[in-house]
């Protein structure tokens, strides 16, 4: 009997560099309150959001991804030609096919890498990091570019009181590569399909085109139920991630949860009893919720502003539509 050659991976994987791109339009609450009969004060109290970033027509899923990726490549010192896999996490690439990843990879000047999109909504970035880490350790890639990107302003109903003020646009990227020490801890991830309709695109495209005056199928959300799940169930997942990583909460330097809502971030931090020295990402206040892009946007900001130092331990936890979630502890590049 003939045996197959085994794959040979690196023993460990780590994040080598990070970069982000913020959509350039700064939209204050006052610009959106009339359509939802609300106020700046109400939005801030309910979400902690003061302004959000929305894209111009020129700021596409592809262009924002390329912007973030170029910075991540530069930060990592890895050349585009060394990238052999590109994973894009997004729900706002408006073509069913092909994926956003292949064109992004091409524009970056990579050399025909494996390239594909994943759909795990707000949890997508941490799914991508987990896949990248396993690919490198499993031997199917050496340097993986993981991108989280969204243009959710396209999918936002400006008249929906529950969501009009939440979503935003931007991209974040990391380069994941081999390392001597573990830089990405074990992932804790999963889904709860029983609650698949808590956050969703309102109707499918076939139903949209049957309408007399077709409208974009906007995102809808059952806010209180999502809050309950995110603030409490996800705090348990975060604790499980620390346990599986062998990290005590006191050893943590940074807590970078998906930037869904400041109230969720606060409730999670309370529920996890985070010590005062752990710096908590609060990028949502002037970025809004950028779904798959929110964690790399928030982490990159902490790196850029000096709040996060190279080698710091950061707990990432991403959660959203599906419901789906993924969490891991990573070392800051």
């Amino acid at each position: 009997m003939t045996g197959l050659n085994p794959s040979h991976g690196s023993r460990h994987a780590t994040i080598l560099g990070i970069g982000s791109y913020r959509a350039s339009r700064v939209i204050p609450n006052d610009d959106i309150v009339d359509a939802i009969d609300s106020s700046d004060e109400w939005i801030q109290q309910r979400s902690g959001i003061r302004t959000r970033r929305w894209a111009t027509p020129e700021e596409t899923v592809q262009s924002m991804s390329v912007g973030a990726s170029r910075k991540a490549l530069e930060h990592s010192g890895v050349d585009a030609s060394q990238i052999d896999a590109v994973i894009v996490a997004t729900v706002s690439h408006m073509l069913q096919t092909p994926s956003a990843a292949t064109a992004i990879a091409h524009e970056l000047g990579t050399d025909r890498p494996v390239a594909f999109d994943i759909s795990a909504a707000c949890a997508g970035f941490c799914h991508g990091v987990a896949l990248a880490s396993d690919m490198i350790r499993g031997g199917s890639a050496h340097h993986v570019l993981v991108i989280g990107v969204e243009r959710l302003s396209d999918l936002t109903n400006p008249e929906d009181r529950g969501t009009a003020f939440i979503f935003s646009d931007g991209a974040g990227a990391v380069v994941v590569g081999p390392s001597d020490e573990p830089g990405i801890g074990p992932v804790v991830w999963g889904s709860d399909g029983e609650q698949f309709d808590l956050i969703r695109q309102r109707e499918d495209w076939r139903d949209v085109i049957r309408q007399k005056n077709p409208m974009m199928p906007h995102l809808v959300m059952q806010g209180n139920a999502v809050f309950r799940w995110a603030a409490f169930e996800m705090a348990k997942i975060a604790q499980q991630t620390l346990d599986e990583s062998g990290i005590k909460v006191e050893d943590l330097d940074l807590f970078v949860p998906h930037q869904a809502n400041m109230r969720i971030i606060d409730a999670m931090a309370r529920s996890m009893k985070l010590p005062a020295h752990v710096k908590i990402a609060r990028d949502i206040a002037d970025q809004g919720n950028a779904s798959a892009a929110s964690i790399p946007l928030a982490l990159d900001r902490m790196v850029t502003e000096g709040e996060a130092k190279s080698g710091d331990l950061a707990l990432l936890i991403a959660f959203g539509a599906g419901l789906s979630y993924a969490s891991q502890v990573v070392k800051v590049p």
């Binding site: 109290q45 309910r46 806010g223 209180n224 139920a225 809050f227 309950r228 603030a231 409730a267």
Partner: protein, 82 residues
């Protein structure tokens, strides 16, 4: 079995922790939203903490019926006895 006053006092402590409302203000006739300024998200936090404290289930559908502190105390007492 806890008395109504004991349930109220424990609930008042939870409301204080979640929303910073002085525990003495959390009286049976007070409305969570109108009198105590506990919004719907804080209410979710209160409910989850109450479920744990009193070992009861308070489904999302039920939460909107709990307008006053008295409504919540009565629900908790019924759930504990049921």
């Amino acid at each position: 079995m806890a008395t109504t006053e004991e349930v109220r006092a424990d609930l008042a402590e939870i409301v204080n922790e979640v929303a910073g409302v002085p525990a003495d203000d959390v009286q049976l006739d007070k409305s969570f939203v109108d009198d105590l300024d506990v919004d719907s998200l804080s209410m979710v936090e209160v409910v989850v903490a109450a479920e744990e404290k009193f070992d009861v289930k308070i489904p999302d559908d039920e939460v909107k019926n709990l307008k006053t502190v008295g409504d919540a105390v009565a629900y908790i007492e019924r759930a504990q006895n049921g």
